[in-house]
């Protein structure tokens, strides 16, 4: 079989019509997931079992089940419950985009909270003590001492999760969304050239990953400015 280069070149622009959906899924669920992750982290480190235990169970559940299953449960399963159809969230949950964003958010939130916890635990105990000795309140210590250092420690792992999230958005194509992967599948159905088309899709994902890596690399460098002389 011959690789038809012109097909790759031709299909890439068509595929980019799905880029918007992919980026929306990515950034929306990344921002919401980060917020959720911070919230879960605060529950986890609260030192109160009735907060930390639910967060622990939540994280276990979402890390313990495949994201595709989560998407299917939300998309196919939720509409069967009348109270969900009657709820204010129905306009969001009725749409595949809403379902995909919700599933990705809930999933990435669980991972992000663990990543942030790693950063939090990586901050030396002595620095907490230095803050205490100066009379800084718990909140001030958390905001001005712990967080900036924890963020620096967490960046490499977080950028990893962000890239995973980019790839996970492709699962949204299984519930009829025309993201990049969804657009690719449509083109395959028209051209019967899965090889070229999916290679094109892979290239676009790789290019996006390249820029994400670079962005995080710069951020990491900035946050680490005080580590190396």
């Amino acid at each position: 079989m011959n690789l038809q280069i012109y097909l790759i070149l031709e299909s890439i622009p068509k595929m980019l019509t799905g880029l918007g959906v992919t980026l929306q899924l990515l950034f929306l669920s990344a921002v919401l997931g980060l917020s959720l992750g911070i919230f879960l982290l605060l529950m986890r480190i609260s030192g109160r079992w009735y907060l930390s235990l639910p967060a622990f169970i939540y994280i276990y559940f979402f890390r313990g089940t495949p994201i595709l299953v989560q998407i299917f449960v939300i998309y196919h399963g939720f509409p069967q419950f009348e109270f969900i159809r009657d709820s204010v969230f129905w306009p969001i949950l009725r749409e595949p985009f809403g379902c995909a964003t919700l599933a990705l958010t809930l999933n990435t939130g669980a991972y992000v909270s663990e990543i942030l916890r790693g950063g939090y635990l990586g901050v030396q105990r002595e620095l907490h003590e230095a803050g205490m000795a100066l009379g800084l309140s718990k909140l001030h210590r958390f905001v001005y001492v712990t967080t900036p250092i924890a963020v620096r420690i967490a960046i490499p792992a977080y950028s990893n999760d962000f890239i995973s999230l980019l790839k996970a958005t492709s699962l949204a194509s299984t519930i009829t969304l025309l993201d990049m992967t969804g657009a690719s599948r449509t083109i395959v159905a028209e051209t019967f050239a899965p090889y070229e088309i999916f290679i094109s899709a892979a290239i676009i994902y790789m290019v996006m990953t390249f820029f994400i890596q670079r962005g995080f690399g710069r951020f990491e460098k900035y946050m680490s400015r005080y580590v190396k002389p």
Binding site: E129, M132, G135, S137, Y226, K228
Partner: protein
């Protein structure tokens, strides 16, 4: 009685503290009056650090009373933060905030705890950097400084809060030998200015020249407490003698 109470900056009454089975502090009684300089020494594991860490509640004592400037240390959180802001602490490993420049290390608590505006805080912070003789390092990050400089920044950071008492937890133990004297010089200056100080250290020269009393601890107890002359020339207890012969033998 009341006048006496005002004079006493720190009172420890029958303070006990254990970590699991290990009795770190055993019925500690100590009173430090305004302007007094106390040097605490003793073998490692004797409870010196634990004692001064209890004084600003970095460790919680199990029983007994600790009273700082008339305020007893309890579980009331607001009180603790208030007490801590009046008690300066200098750590063995400096514990500067690595992500903040030197000047911002000093300004952080001035802004957040003392509620100063930025320019006022900067002015106060620069004043203390000059006092420890490193104003030119203000905009560097801690890692760009030598150990001796970092410890002087840490002292300045604690002084900024205008504390009533300063606690030093082996401030020169992590330093290279050539940097010890620059830190001790700063501490001697502070002592001469009348600051109330408790200093855990093995620098016996420093102890001899500035201390009003030397406390010798062993196995979580205060074995002996005497003015330096008596302490070095006429120690009572066997344990003190053994310790002194070890530490002064070189």
């Amino acid at each position: 009685m009341k006048d006496n109470d005002n004079e006493a900056k720190i009172i420890l009454q029958d303070v006990c503290k254990s970590f699991g089975d290990f009795q770190a502090l055993n019925n500690i009684n100590l009173q430090v009056n305004k302007g007094e300089k106390i040097v605490v020494c003793g073998p490692s594991g004797s409870g010196k650090s634990t004692m001064i860490r209890c004084i600003n509640r970095l460790e919680e004592h199990d029983s007994g009373k600790i009273i700082i400037s008339g305020r007893e240390l309890t579980n009331e959180v607001k009180d603790i933060d208030a007490v801590r802001s009046e008690v300066g602490m200098v750590f063995q490993n400096f514990n500067l905030f690595p992500h903040l420049t030197v000047i911002n290390n000093l300004m952080l608590a001035l802004k957040l705890v003392r509620k100063m505006n930025k320019s006022k805080a900067r002015e106060v912070a620069m004043g203390f950097l000059e006092r420890v003789q490193i104003p030119e390092q203000a905009d560097k990050y801690p890692i760009q400084l030598s150990g001796g400089q970092q410890q002087r920044v840490a002292i300045a950071r604690a002084l900024c809060m205008n504390p009533e008492v300063m606690l030093f937890d082996e401030p020169t133990s992590a330093l290279d030998p050539e940097m010890i004297s620059e830190v001790l010089d700063v501490m001697i200056d502070l002592a001469n200015e009348g600051l109330t100080m408790i200093c855990v250290t093995h620098e016996m020269g420093f102890a001899r020249s500035v201390a009003d009393s030397i406390v010798f601890m062993d196995s979580g107890e205060i074995v002996e407490m005497k003015p330096p002359d008596e302490f070095f020339n006429n120690p009572e207890s066997k344990r003190t003698k053994a310790f002194l012969s070890q530490i002064l033998s070189h």
